[in-house]
């Protein structure tokens, strides 16, 4: 559990506890990458959404490895359980089956290389940032406590909390307006 402050040392043996943890970590990362690739390359929209769900599940695993089980559960609950399902639902309800494609077949030749270079740039920038920054290591404060999360959400991070409520309010008003318009 001291993974937060670990320095790159010699790779642990495969059949030790650390080795097994490493293999599981690689599997989660593979899940993220595979899911993302499916989401980007799939020809059918529902497959792309399924890939997105796989990617979110892998991300939850990554959060778990970053010692944040609460975030991992929330990722599953909100992104896999609500967001992907709502997207899939919208696709199934809104469009006839012939149009449920991502339009991958007739795209411009430049799209692929352009997207790749933008992605590579962002990745390189983040990598440089991550390696150059002097990270300040926060000690872990005791066992996980839901109370601490609630406390910090309502004191230190109360601005975020208020912003969330404003976003929710806007979403509700937007939904009401849309529904009203549909009725007339």
């Amino acid at each position: 559990m001291q993974a937060l402050v670990c320095q790159p040392t010699a790779a642990p043996a495969l059949f030790s506890a650390e080795g097994a943890v490493g293999v599981i970590f690689l599997l989660t990362v593979a899940l993220v990458v595979t899911g993302a690739l499916i989401a980007v390359n799939a020809n059918r929209l529902v497959r792309a959404v399924a890939g997105l769900a796989v990617c979110f599940t892998g991300l939850a695993g990554v959060y778990y490895f970053l010692l944040s089980p609460f975030l991992a559960m929330m990722q599953m609950l909100i992104y896999v359980g609500a967001v992907s399902i709502l997207i899939a639902f919208g696709i199934m309800m809104a469009t006839p089956e012939e149009q449920q494609t991502t339009g991958m077949k007739h795209r411009s030749i430049l799209a692929g290389p352009l997207a790749f270079s933008v992605g590579a740039l962002i990745f390189a920038a983040l990598t440089v940032l991550g390696l150059k920054t002097q990270w300040q290591v926060f000690p872990r404060q005791g066992a996980f406590d839901i109370k601490a999360v609630g406390m910090s959400l309502l004191t230190t991070h109360s601005l975020v909390f208020e912003l969330i409520s404003i976003v929710l309010l806007m979403a509700i008003i937007g939904a009401l307006v849309l529904a009203q318009r549909g009725r007339n």
Partner: protein, 330 residues
């Protein structure tokens, strides 16, 4: 001992066996119960009182060809039944069967159960869509709107329990209710929680019936309207896995209800707590599921959604407010 590989293996085998036995024999219980309620005999040929029937059914399902019809989305069609089964078994990892029996006493285990439940929702959605069958797509759409609608009041009522127990850990919630039925969350005497908690219990139970897609809320699998809903195109073990997933979801729902509201493994009179009380409670709850299914006719989809959005959600919100106020006042 806590990190020993034997402990992990033992729990793995134990949970698999418990899940498999329940999935097989709840089918038998359901058929027998249905038969009694409809004044029939039910399965009686294979073995004494038809006790070998699940075995015969399993062999039959496994020996049939795994048929993948033309025009389905091959990969998703094959993955969906597996996805329906896995989360139900995985959920059993965090269920505390008794004080000393429970694979993992994880913080946030309540959240984990709901996170896993959302995966089985995806399974139904993908299975229905991949079949490429109009009935299956209608069924998937129905089932998702139903599950989304009923997840909200369910989570809100769970918050009332979490407020009272002050923990998201199922084991700690159960330990908090030890010592006789007046400590159970449903009848809790202290702080006057018994005034509102039975409402929570009723809302939670209705929601868990709806979440497991059981009659009177089995809009997803309405035989008389949609053939068999999202399972229409599935044969052999694909269908078998969906059925097992459904029964295991019932078991998990009953375990969750027993732990959150009925004191987990606690004895009603505070004498002999143990795993047997937990099993008695969950099987009474499961019997109630079967009883409800064969007693009430199916509702309609808009009534079902109205019940959730117009009645259950407002009631559960008011209930949450009152519970929080009671905790603050006393």
């Amino acid at each position: 001992m806590e990190t020993s590989i034997w402990r992990a293996l033992l729990y793995l085998v134990g949970i698999m066996a418990f899940a498999g036995l329940n999935a097989a024999y709840l089918g038998w219980c359901e058929r027998k119960g249905a038969a009694r309620i409809q004044r029939r005999i039910g399965p009686c040929e294979a073995g004494y009182a038809g006790l070998l029937q699940p075995l015969a059914d399993g062999l039959k399902l496994m020996s049939k060809q795994l048929l993948v019809p033309d025009g389905v989305d091959g990969i998703i069609f094959r993955v969906a039944p597996v996805l329906a089964m896995i989360p139900a078994i995985t959920s059993m990892v965090v269920i505390p069967f008794s004080e000393n029996i429970g694979a993992r006493a994880m913080e946030l285990s309540v959240l984990l159960l709901f996170a896993l439940a959302s995966i089985s929702m995806i399974a139904i959605l993908l299975g229905g869509w991949a079949s490429g069958n109009k009935y299956a797509v209608i069924s998937a759409a129905r089932s998702v709107s139903q599950n989304l609608a009923y997840e909200i009041p369910m989570l809100i009522t769970v918050i009332t329990v979490v407020l009272i127990s002050g923990s998201l850990n199922l084991r700690e919630i159960a330990i908090d209710q030890q010592g006789g039925f007046w400590h159970w969350n449903i009848f809790r005497l202290e702080n006057g929680h018994f005034l509102t908690m039975w409402i929570s219990f009723i809302i939670f139970f209705i929601c868990s019936v709806a979440e497991t897609n059981r009659a009177p809320f089995d809009m997803a699998e309405a035989e008389s309207e949609l053939v068999a809903g999202f399972m229409t195109e599935y044969g052999s073990m694909g269908f078998g896995l969906f059925m097992m997933g459904e029964y295991l979801n019932i078991v998990v729902g009953a375990c969750l209800t027993a732990t959150l509201f009925l004191g987990g493994w606690d004895c009603p009179f505070g004498k002999t707590p143990g795993v047997w009380w937990f099993l008695i409670k969950i099987y009474i709850l499961i019997f109630t599921f079967i009883w409800i299914r064969w007693t009430y006719p199916r509702t309609q989809i808009y009534r079902l959604l109205n019940l959730s959005w117009k009645i259950l959600i407002p009631f559960s919100l008011i209930n949450l407010l009152i519970t929080a106020a009671l905790i603050k006042v006393f």
